[in-house]
């Protein structure tokens, strides 16, 4: 990998919204070194030995709804909680790519285990990794690495889910301490954690004026509620965590006072490859299960694997899995290479990977037929386990709006006249868009100025020529879609979620498409023996993404949004479905 010459402040997708293809950000497709690969092979094998021995247990622990203490101890001893902690502090020092790959392996065996490890490494202690000062690191890393301390991320509250800035937990300064009061909800690892990254309001006057604190369970006033009874991930611990006049030393402030919202967002962005890796792992497992099932199951005299409709499902699973792994890897590469602005890309990888997993489990269960519905088989558990992925760590709906608004924000930033205005958009993305009213007039400059350079791929293998061309065409459509959406809605865009969603869909398709191309390109360059098969994946993905993009583009002007809104209003008005055959 060599991105050393590349400008690390550039975002591939924000540039793409301006019609600019930043291929140096995308290429080369990230690859682990031989040494890292060998380590990961060892890790995969070791995880297989440790977790494989518990295959039956996982089924029971799901039923019982919790892990026995002995299993958590086994995970600690194994080193599962030290994955991302620097080696000099007793961890394994994995970067995002290796971490994501390791979680893939865990997820093949059990999602509850993956989320227990993931909530610790991806979010629980991620703030310390990103913002911890030397003293804080020295204090907590060694214990977090061994699992003596398990970490939890405490942001969500009963009244503050997607709208994280509206939390009411507050911290008041008293001398060298802060006094923390409030209740947190649905905290993963709550029941087993002793290290909490807690977000609290420290400036009541200002919305979003919050601060992150490192709280430990030995502080007086920290209490944990009962284990929640959940649809999936049942063995993993989810609880409420309450803070009742907890006195937190000022030395435990994480990052700067008042910067808590930024800290929370950075943690979530940086940790996304964990969930992405977990999703890919579960998809790989389903493909294994479904191909075996379809080969064994005979109907009408032959294995169902030979029937077109089964093959169609398996083929799509392969495309989805390849694409999800590609986009998660590209994002992991961006994190590891030190790119600063990958929030949109990370959000896309989360949305795509979690939805691809949902499709894959659903179709895998369908292939298994009645067996899929039986608790004796793993399908139903996997279906239940993965449903939350589209909800937690930012719902996919909110992330779609985030993706679209950030894409448009990038366009605005390019227009110098709007620079001062842009700042207010970014700090208050939900309200700031009103200032774009005169955007349309400025867009002509962008259209001529930005397209001169960097609107084409120059580093892709010649075999990908037609795909590169199609992508470039779609990129022009994206830039034009951003323009048309902003023209159409002007200052009202912020309330136009239908339109934003449409743009997000286009952006998601494009970034995953680009990631698939990058991956296939790497296979061509490495002269992989199965390049032909990988090209088929690109063929399918590009074909389908291309038509979705064109359809979404058409729908900017020609859609049924108003009908849908009216029908929704109708249902709300009646509080029920309005017709009956009686």
């Amino acid at each position: 990998m060599s991105h050393s010459e590349t400008d690390k402040s550039v975002s591939f997708m924000r540039s793409l919204c301006m019609g600019q293809i930043e291929e140096d950000v995308l290429l080369p497709f990230p690859e682990m070194s031989e040494d890292e690969k060998e380590t990961l092979r060892g890790v995969a094998e070791a995880l297989g030995s440790m977790l494989g021995a518990h295959t039956e247990d996982f089924r029971h622990w799901d039923r019982e709804g919790h892990f026995p203490e002995s299993f958590i101890e086994e995970l600690k001893e194994f080193g599962a909680f030290g994955l991302v902690i620097p080696e000099e502090h007793g961890g394994l020092g994995f970067g995002s790519m290796a971490y994501s790959r390791a979680l893939q392996e865990v997820a093949k065996y059990d999602a509850s285990t993956a989320v227990t490890i993931g909530a610790h490494s991806s979010i629980g202690m991620r703030g310390l990794l990103l913002f911890g000062n030397e003293k804080q690191n020295a204090r907590f890393y060694p214990k977090l690495a061994t699992g003596e301390m398990i970490a939890a991320f405490c942001l969500t509250e009963p009244g503050a889910g997607s709208d994280a800035a509206s939390i009411t937990t507050k911290a008041t300064r008293e001398g060298d301490e802060w006094v923390l009061d409030g209740n947190k909800l649905w905290i993963t690892n709550g029941g087993i954690a002793s290290f909490f990254t807690v977000f609290a309001k420290t400036d009541e006057g200002r919305k979003g004026g919050m601060t992150a604190f490192l709280v430990t369970s030995d502080m007086e006033g920290v209490s944990v509620g009962p284990h929640e009874d959940k649809m999936g991930l049942r063995a993993s611990s989810t609880t409420t965590v309450a803070f009742d006049s907890v006195r937190v030393p000022a030395a435990n402030v994480l990052g700067e006072v008042g910067q808590g919202f930024k800290v929370a967002m950075k943690i979530l962005n940086s940790g996304r490859t964990g969930l992405g890796g977990g999703s890919v792992g579960a998809m790989k497992k389903i493909i294994e299960l479904a191909t075996a099932q379809a080969s064994e199951r005979k109907q009408f005299g032959k294995p169902i694997a030979e029937y077109g409709l089964v093959r169609r499902k398996i083929g799509h699973m392969v495309v989805d899995c390849y694409a999800a792994e590609a986009v998660v890897s590209v994002v992991a590469g961006l994190v590891d290479e030190g790119f600063e602005d990958y929030a949109v890309e990370a959000a896309i990888s989360k949305v795509y990977a979690t939805e691809a997993l949902w499709r894959t489990v659903d179709e895998g269960l369908q292939i298994a037929g009645g067996n899929g519905f039986m608790c004796e088989f793993p399908y139903e558990r996997m279906l239940r386990d993965c449903r939350i992925n589209r909800i937690f760590e930012g719902t996919n709906d909110i992330l779609r709006l985030f993706i679209a608004l950030n894409g448009m924000d990038g366009v605005a930033s390019q227009l110098k006249e709007l620079v001062s205005v842009r700042k207010s958009i970014f700090s208050a993305p939900i309200k700031g868009f009103g200032v774009l009213q005169d955007y349309a007039a400025k867009h002509a400059q962008l259209a001529t100025g930005a397209r001169v350079k960097g609107t084409h791929f120059t580093k892709l293998a010649p075999e990908l020529g037609k795909h590169a061309e199609a992508f470039e065409q779609a990129t022009r459509e994206l830039a034009s879609a951003v323009d048309r959406i902003l023209r159409k809605h002007g200052k009202d865009i912020i309330g136009k979620q239908f339109a934003s969603n449409r743009l997000a869909e286009i952006m998601i398709d494009l970034f995953v498409w680009a990631s698939v191309m990058a991956r296939v390109n790497a296979a061509i360059e490495a002269k992989a023996s199965d390049v032909e098969t990988q090209l088929r994946i690109l063929e399918v993905f590009a074909g389908r993404a291309g038509s979705r993009i064109r359809a979404n583009f058409r729908k900017i002007d020609d859609n049924d949004d108003e009908h849908i809104k009216a029908l929704s209003d109708h249902a709300f008005e009646h509080g029920k479905f309005g017709w009956d055959t009686l």
Partner: protein
Amino acid sequence: MKILVPIKRVADPDNANKVKVSGDGTQVTSEGLEWKMNPFDEWSLEAALRLTEDGAKKTRTGEVVLVTIGPKDAAQTVRTGLSMGAERGILVEANDQELDSNMVAQILKAIVDKEKPDLVVMGKQTVDGDSNVAGTVLAELLGWPLANYAMSLATDDDGKTLTVKRELDTGVSTIKVTGPAVITTSDRILKPESVKNGVTPADFKYPEAEGGRYASLKGIMAAKKKPIDEVTAASLGATPQKTLSYLKFELPAARSGQTTFVESVEELVQKLKSDAKVL
């Protein structure tokens, strides 16, 4: 205590159906195979690790040296053993297709002469060749006592003397051995209380397991820094002679895999006579 543990990579027994014979029948092809440590060797490594540690405190008290004979990428199997806890490894470069048990024993003798371990602990056989010869020949070449098919080992003087229970067809034979010695192990060596070394508390029980301990993630990272010396038979001063030639390989005939259901014992006996023709 210093123990030498010879290990061999074999085709993953869980994927044994991928094993193929070359067109001319002269060899088993290794293409596309996944390699794994020979299970018997993994168990002997587990025994060696138990002999050289405090199992309760999880601290090492002795040294385990791994040796394998094979091509360069066989080092990965050694790395697996190092991540389980062994201290260092030796790779004797050789084409594993061209070895027989006799050559293996001769090369191991050269390694023993150089390393001077207190014990050699090895699997009683490999799951590919299944010869069950190398350990015995090695003891003969060294003039050391041999305790084969060991199902339990006990020492309280750092391996100078051992009480070994040997698992035989006729029952269990208990013997006392004065080291240095060659020990080959059976799968019962994995039982929770089958290895006693005078350091681990006498009442300590290892967990029930079907194989050797799994490497922890920390073990894997530590193994990256452990040395694997690469040598050749020639550099050890050994000139191993081949005494066994394979004439031809062929796969066993495929089984029909058909299942017949019977209603009664009478019918079963009848079918065993008429269909299976085993009675």
